[in-house]
Symmetry: C2
Subunit: 357 residues, 2 copies
């Protein structure tokens, strides 16, 4: 008997029903208890008796927006109900000024990008009392500043490269022949001259192309350099990662007090790939993205919501940050807060604000 209802179905509902749904969701978010007709009648500005409210609630239940845990409990929003609320009913509250100043302050204490990522994650979790997550900037989209080779032992070579002014990466590669320090230096010089300032993705593609096409016209030194670059920027080198903090905050929420659920969730956190995939999806969409409960498609997140925003450096989206908490969260504050954090992190990471290399 429950009608299947998409999200854009406000036309089926009159102003009053929507108003009541809004009040119900707000009330449930603040109390955590199923909301009954009597309570809703008092809470809403509409002067309606509980009986009338009950009729409306029955309609909302038929549409699959709310649901009652058992006969004599009040109503609780469903995922669809939350979705409608978040998409069309929500009145966002501006970020509190004390939060804002904390963000600005603590995102600018270090000039190391890893420190900034960590700080952002901690800010997200501390100020929301939920879990905060920030992906490391995507290497693909980031610019190569400088590359250097260091011989470790015969064919083992340490590659160091700096991207975007702040980030330092290193990797050990195994070369096919033994190189002298001078040869390595020469290779690095060559690569720096032609690839510096270009995105890693571009570099990777260019390297592939050179190896396929232009081998004849290249000197042995250039060829060696390009081969080493290929090893250094090898795709599977790139293990996406994120910084998650405040997971323990999630243990306080009653909706996650079930040990099995909690275990699944924490396992998902430590396995990472699922979460990474989810966050990658959020990177596509500019701005704030929200997954409520099962919407994420990952069973471990069934009772959680995820509010994310992508962050950009030099107008290029490079990563995602967000907050993980129970579906019952204060969206009206969390959404602008996540949005703001993303903007400020992007600004803090922006190399343009620093002197160039």
């Amino acid at each position: 008997m429950v009608a299947e209802v998409g999200v854009g179905n406000t036309q089926f509902l009159n102003e009053r029903s929507l108003q009541l749904l809004k009040t119900l969701v707000e009330r449930y978010i603040s109390d955590g208890q199923p909301v009954g007709s009597r309570a809703l009648s008092k809470d809403s500005d509409l002067k309606l008796s509980p009986a009338t409210i009950r009729n409306v609630m029955a309609d909302l239940e038929d549409l699959g927006l709310i649901h009652s845990p058992h006969t004599s409990a009040g109503r609780v929003p469903t995922v669809t109900g939350y979705r409608l609320f978040v998409d069309t009913l929500l009145t966002v509250k501006p970020v509190e000024s004390k939060d804002l100043s904390l963000l600005q302050q603590r995102l600018t204490v270090s000039d190391d990008s890893n420190d900034m990522i960590g700080a952002a994650s901690r800010l997200l979790s501390e100020l929301t009392q939920m879990a905060g997550v920030v992906t490391l900037p995507k290497r693909d989209l980031v610019c190569l500043r400088h590359i250097e080779f260091l011989s470790l032992s015969h064919t083992r070579v340490l590659v160091i490269f700096v991207t975007n002014e702040h980030e330092v990466h290193n990797k050990i590669i195994h070369t096919s022949k033994v190189f002298s320090a001078a040869e390595l230096q020469q290779a690095a010089n060559y690569l720096n001259t032609i690839y510096s300032g270009r995105s890693l993705d571009t570099v990777r593609k260019a390297v592939l192309k050179e190896l396929q096409e232009d081998q004849e016209r290249m000197s042995q030194g250039m060829l060696d350099a390009v081969r080493m670059a290929q090893l250094a920027f090898d795709h599977n080198n790139e293990k996406d990662d994120y910084v998650l903090t405040g997971e323990t905050n999630l243990m306080g929420f009653s909706e996650l007090s079930d040990m099995d659920r909690l275990k699944n969730l924490f396992e998902a956190f430590s396995q990472k790939q699922g979460v990474i995939h989810l966050l990658d999806q959020c990177m596509q969409a500019q701005g704030v993205q929200i997954f409520i409960g099962e919407e994420s498609g990952y069973r471990a997140f069934d009772h959680c919501s995820l509010v994310t925003s992508s962050y950009s450096v030099s107008d290029e989206v490079v990563g995602v940050l967000g907050v993980i908490g129970p579906t019952r969260m204060a969206y009206e504050k969390i959404i602008p807060f996540v949005d703001m954090t993303a903007k400020l992190l992007g600004a803090a990471l922006n190399p343009k604000s620093k002197t160039p290399l």
Copy 2:
């Protein structure tokens, strides 16, 4: 009425009582249920009636070795009981051959020390079904192989140094004046010549001494080099860290099913300093070290036991690894397993088995 009892009090107990304590602890570890006199009478080889056993149990309880949760439950070992069991009654079982081969195999798949540390932690948690922890090798005790400087922007200089053949560290320092690439190269050469092969601790001390005493006889270049070395090896640079895996395994144990306890424990894990301090203590003692329940002194670990062993590279203790689980764990298997893992990790990390730089 409970006598205060230290650990070396086996003289107060006859052979039979000890035998019964041993059987009781073993039984409790395998079942998780308080052990009654009837069960113990059947389990032990001694042909004694439950009534006799009850008398002995009363003695053991007076000595504070066992305790009954309530009048009509069986007995459960106390921390002191476990301690006596572990110290003098335990018959360790050799590491299972399938575990051994897994250890050997998976500790040698990579030559990157971070990979090895990670692998060790995962092995510890997977094969024990508890949480595994491995500290990163102490930098102090590790040998400097190679140092390199790279200019980032005016006074920001990237320091890269390789220790122990495998580990690569990097840090950004701010110098007091602007250096050219050639000057940096020269400084690196100088430092490599005099400090390569010496432990970071020695280097740090030598640097301090030079700056205090020998400034006159040094050239400007040497002085610059030493000053940069001081910044690079600055003590607070060194944040001890560990790799913890399989925390979620702990969520399965009934003794940790209390949400508050679990939250405290996980918070201790993410705050790290407490755990680091505890692990540091274990580094003093050569070989396997065990903390049972409250013995650790950290409230978060009250219902856990920690079995650790230090691991060494070139006969020098550089780190600690271990397993965290409920006090009720299979010590007879865990202890030799942790011991073995430490030995194999040390062997895998040993630079002597590889070609020198």
